[in-house]
Amino acid sequence: MRLSDIAIGVSMAMLALLLSYLIVYGGLGPIATLNLRPLAVSFLNYTYNPWKIVYSAMSPEAVTAIVWDFRGLDTYFETSVLFIAIVGLIALFRGANVVQGVSSKGLSIIVKTSTKLVAPLILVAGASLAFHGHLSPGGGFQGGSFMTVAMTLLAIAFSIEFFQQKKLTLNRLLAIRCIGLLAIVVVSVYLLVKAVLLGGYAYIFQNMPRINSQYSMPSWFLDRPLAGILFFFNLSESIAVIGGLTLGVVLLLLREEELKAIIGGGEHE
């Protein structure tokens, strides 16, 4: 054991002690009391509140309501962080492409068949999570990552060529990602644009009618609440996530030969 390791260990122990001190002396507030924080009570009160619609998201699911409506801005940028990571990966491996026919056989036929059978089921389960994001636990990202399971399972069980054969090239995956993201942008400014065109007033990310603005998204579809932008956000987010995460995984799965071909070129200064 080196001296530096011991020093790091000691300083980490000190950090742990400090943070424990913070907890034990109530820096985080009481743990597990009967009363929630007042802000949380406000959120729970307004998440589905037909009697006070100017503060409400009209979604029975409080977490999704906070994620996509009350704090929609956070989530908008969070999606863009994922987007930046994907673009960064593409920039790292720019020029790389899946080459077909380089000794790929995947796993055994039993695994392939089982995965094949289950993949559509996982996809539809993910879609259901995205559809019901505002009614039950789940949402856009959950649904999208559920669907990504199916894609990664296929990529591993068959091989990455599988996507190439199914005409899901890297560019198309990026296109799917961008379509989803642009749909998010459109939904988030839809009411604002509408209000500007009609000469009224609306907020960015507006969902239900607000104090100064009467415009609103649909809050009910057939026999269940729709929660306006929440549903559309969930839908577009799941599309975006499935495109983006699959693209990222496929990029990381690129073979040695494919990677070797692109690096060491001459793009600097």
Binding site: L107, S108, I110, S114, L117, V118, S136
Partner: protein, 124 residues
């Protein structure tokens, strides 16, 4: 009445599941090598997971205090059990094959190995 029947059937299945789990865990500890442990793990996956999932589905239908949403639980439990049945066998097969091919786990003790002649031949 029918509720009680369903609920007790569900509870029984869950109890079977607990027992199978226990056996599977002991088997995983006791059995000598990876390939024999595979069988104990199968007990854990089918008897210990699929059966109690079905039990949970039955119990949920019969257990009134859960309210209307209990059918969601039943549906999810049933679908999960089916998916688990399809996937657990594929998973153990994939692991066994990989362990055998990569020689990642010792094969002993074994009385007869029909695959030995095929070993090293990766023409497939």
């Amino acid at each position: 009445m029918i509720d009680m029947v369903l609920a007790s059937a569900g509870l029984t299945l869950i109890a079977i599941g607990v027992f199978c789990d226990f056996v599977a865990a002991i088997g995983l500890i006791r059995l000598p090598n990876f390939f024999t442990r595979l069988h104990a793990a199968t007990v854990g996956a089918i008897g210990g997971a699929v059966v109690p999932m079905l039990g949970a589905a039955l119990l949920a239908i019969g257990y009134e205090p859960l309210g209307e949403t209990r059918f969601i639980l039943a549906g999810v439990a049933f679908t999960t059990s089916i998916v688990t049945m399809i996937l657990s066998q594929a998973g153990s097969h994939a692991l066994a094959r990989a362990a055998y091919r990569a020689r990642a786990a010792p094969l002993q003790p074994i009385t007869y190995d029909a695959l030995a002649e095929k070993r090293g031949d990766s023409s497939e």
